[in-house]
């Protein structure tokens, strides 16, 4: 086992033997948060390390080693997302009525919220941001969302990537992106409502 090497500016980098222990979990969480599939995230981490081995000599320490690995992981991630986006667009009918499960699809109330599906009054939502359980629920809701929508939604909202950049990177049209973001938002709104806000309101009521 070698102990890593020292770069020109004196900064030490870790030996590849220890990469998994030092950076594995960080990269895994990074990937998992964006692809929402364990096996895929694991493969992305492995591919990142293997690609990093090949380009290791070129790493000069302009950034930390972890940042450098995250950069490689992002490349791998975008390759994967681009492949998936194309598959999804082929399989899915994007023009199907997306809100139909929450809105009336015919009759006098066509296009109106179904009674059981209306947005409730979320009580002091900002307070939720301070509660650890809220983040677990949000994380679960993101995992439960249809994955195809979740993947673009997470790039948009979690990474704050601009719509135009997402379209260019994933090679999808703007209108397709809008439909996917819209459906993801509808799904997340419903999930947070039933699993967090309604549940919490009920809990408070039973305490008082």
């Amino acid at each position: 086992m070698n102990d890593g090497r020292v770069l020109e500016d004196g900064e030490r980098v870790i030996s590849p033997d220890r990469w998994v222990d030092c950076y594995g979990d960080y990269l895994y969480q990074y990937a998992l948060a964006r692809v929402r599939e364990r096996a895929v995230a694991e493969d992305l981490v492995q591919d990142t390390f293997l690609a990093a081995l090949k380009s290791r000599d070129r790493f000069r320490g302009q950034s930390s080693e972890r940042t450098w690995l995250v950069g490689i992981l992002r490349h791998k991630l975008f390759d994967y997302l681009r492949r998936k986006a194309r598959e999804v667009l082929q399989e899915m009918d994007l023009h199907q009525d997306e809100g139909s499960r929450r809105m009336h699809s015919s009759g006098f109330s066509k296009g109106c919220w179904i009674k059981e599906e209306v947005p409730n009054d979320w009580v002091s939502p900002a307070d939720s941001l301070c509660e650890k359980e809220f983040w677990m629920v949000l994380d679960e809701c993101c995992s439960k969302m249809p994955r195809a929508f979740a993947r673009v939604f997470l790039l948009r909202e979690m990474d704050g990537m601009e719509s135009r950049d997402i379209c260019e990177t994933l090679k999808i049209s703007q209108s397709n992106l809008w439909v996917m973001l819209h459906r993801a938002r509808l799904a997340l709104q419903r999930c947070l409502q039933s699993n967090w806000f309604t549940a919490r309101a009920r809990e408070k009521k039973s305490h008082s």
Binding site: V20, V45, Q46, G99, G111, W122, L177
Partner: protein, 98 residues
């Protein structure tokens, strides 16, 4: 002609479904002024869509924070089995590259 009429109807009197879709799109880029105007008229009249609008704003804020604090908020770890597998692959690849 019929299609044109239904487009105009959709514009001047959007349903909740139209408005919910518009709200999402409006987060990406500003809607055309006319469409925005009729959406706002709907929002004045419809409490549910008004709530949805507030919820979308909250979701954006929460997601931004979630992204920034991901590694502090959650602890997803590689399983021991996968850890070993990746380590083995790295060793093999190192030997191959030497």
């Amino acid at each position: 002609m019929k299609r044109r009429l239904s487009e105009i109807k959709k514009l001047v009197s959007p349903t909740c479904e139209d408005v919910v879709r518009s709200l999402s799109r409006h987060q990406e880029e500003p809607l055309p002024i006319v469409r925005q105007f009729f959406m706002r008229v709907h929002l004045v009249l419809c409490g549910f869509c008004r709530r949805y609008k507030v919820h979308l704003r909250f979701i954006r804020r929460a997601m931004g924070e979630y992204g920034g604090r991901l590694h502090e908020l959650l602890r997803h770890r590689l399983s021991e089995q996968v850890r070993m597998r990746i380590k083995r692959r790295i060793e093999e690849e190192q030997r191959r590259l030497e």
